[in-house]
Amino acid sequence: MSHHHHSRRGFLGHGLGLGGAAALGSLGLQLNVASAAELEDPQAPRQPHFPAKAKSVIWLHMAGAPSTLDLFDYKPELIKLAGKPLPDSFAKNLKTATDGGVGNLLATKRTWKQYGETGAWVSDFLPNLARQVDDIAFLKGCKTEGATHVISSLKLHTAGLVPGRPALGSWVQYALGSANPDLPAFVVLPTGVGAAGGGRGAVIWSSGFLPAAYQGTAFRKGDSPILHLARPEGVIDTEQRNTLDLIASLNEHGAITRSGDTELSARAKSYELAYRMEKSAPEAVDLTKETAATRELYGIGTKETDEYGTALLRARRLVERNVRFIHVISGAPDASVDSWDAHNNLEKNHGVMSKSVDKPIAGLLADLKARGLLETTLVVWTSEFGRTPYGQSGNGRDHNPWGYTSWLAGGGIKPGSYGSTDDIGLRAQTGIVDTYDLQATILHQLGLDNRKVTFQYQGRQERPTTVFGDVIKEIVA
């Protein structure tokens, strides 16, 4: 067995390097951060373009589009104008498709206060997060394209308006490899019931035209986070190990005459990664090792916050294990609402949704900070778009791609507020940040130049942010 083991390691360690590189070249791959020999092992760690400020990203995707006008973007003018039709001065060239017609301006019903030294406005929907504002950089002039969840969510996650492009997490994994050989570098933590709101499915964590090894790995709820990961009942460890050793030996033998077969190499590596993950993945999400105080900090054990808090505590544990990109997707905590998608009854919807994420996110930021991890962990809070200042269905708001708030914390980001919307919160007005710029900034904090991460596909040199994307220098510490 030791002979096989040694032999297998030799194979896995040195693999098919040059032959694999030649094969990749013939396939038209042009590599930059990843060299061809390294891509042959998708997990191999790779150097960034320049020193990174962040080692990991936790991307909090608020699926369904919260109304940042009711969370972060306080607009006294909107309160003054409430009940009146949308003024022409704001609506010039605006193409709306609101079901049931554009309603009159709708004021927020929340109580607002400024918090912290930065004086950031936060509504009483988010009382816990309000206490963390001094660690947050609010981007108040965000804008995007499209007005449907699926299209805008694709743009947010893949920089494309149609399926087929890789998610940002896939690009990160492609560019930097994995910092932990026992876990995937791009993990997805979907939460909630149902899939309402659109733009939540696997297409937003797909590797697109990048090799499949770079796709996000969705963790399930419960003790066994990856489907079919556990060893089948009736098979003992020695038996499985012997089987894998035999397969590796046969693959090694086969590779002698197939030195350019990257699929064979990748398959062989995947057996070993899966074997290691049988232990590493359940351990990574085993929250029984956390103290009661930590669990409470995240809202675990309380019905409204239990699931999202569990996901965020898992995210912190994955950061501790050097997972590079953790994508947490919000969902409804119960059947009373669908998602953040409040076309009607916004007060009820956002009451439920805010409650489910407020304490867990505040807990995550506090916990990361207390453990010294916030400095190197970039937390991103965003959505496919925001919601309109005008009403829909009397008490809801429609989709707003023209102006909304996102925020970043940690990972070398300077806290404060950047950009603004107009007086009613309809359109981004200053400090305009498109999704490409957000993506470029995240890559920058990871030590990557968005214009230098490239992959050739169908004869074209593709980049994570297409031809666009400027780093938001104003928020980089």
Binding site: Q30, K95, P401, I432, T454, R460, Q461, E462, V467, D470
Partner: protein, 129 residues
Amino acid sequence: MNLRKQTLLAAIAAFALASAALGEGTDVDGDLMRGVDDTAKSLDSNVAMKDDKAAAADARALVETFARIESHYGEKPDTADAVGFAHRTQELAGQALKAIEAKDFDAAGEAVNQLTRSCKNCHEKYKKD
């Protein structure tokens, strides 16, 4: 010639024909701008791959198209900044072309980078929401 280039050339040809037939009333329409968008992406890719022939063809197409766009907006009232955007973008395409011809792909890449920014800046004002 790939499909994207065919699309832009077809759009330019259609634009030229329409301009000739209809005179100053011709619109710079979505098809033309989508062609421009795709050619800018193709130019960016060809510069990155240091394919000087393909990149130069893309840059020339953009110079020509932006000259037409400048002319189009020049005939309309209250479009001074659109004329400015088109002129600036045409200049940048020209700078990219010169750099490509000199095989200075770093300079060409920077010109393309500025060109796509210029496109975005113009869209902020003129692309209808």
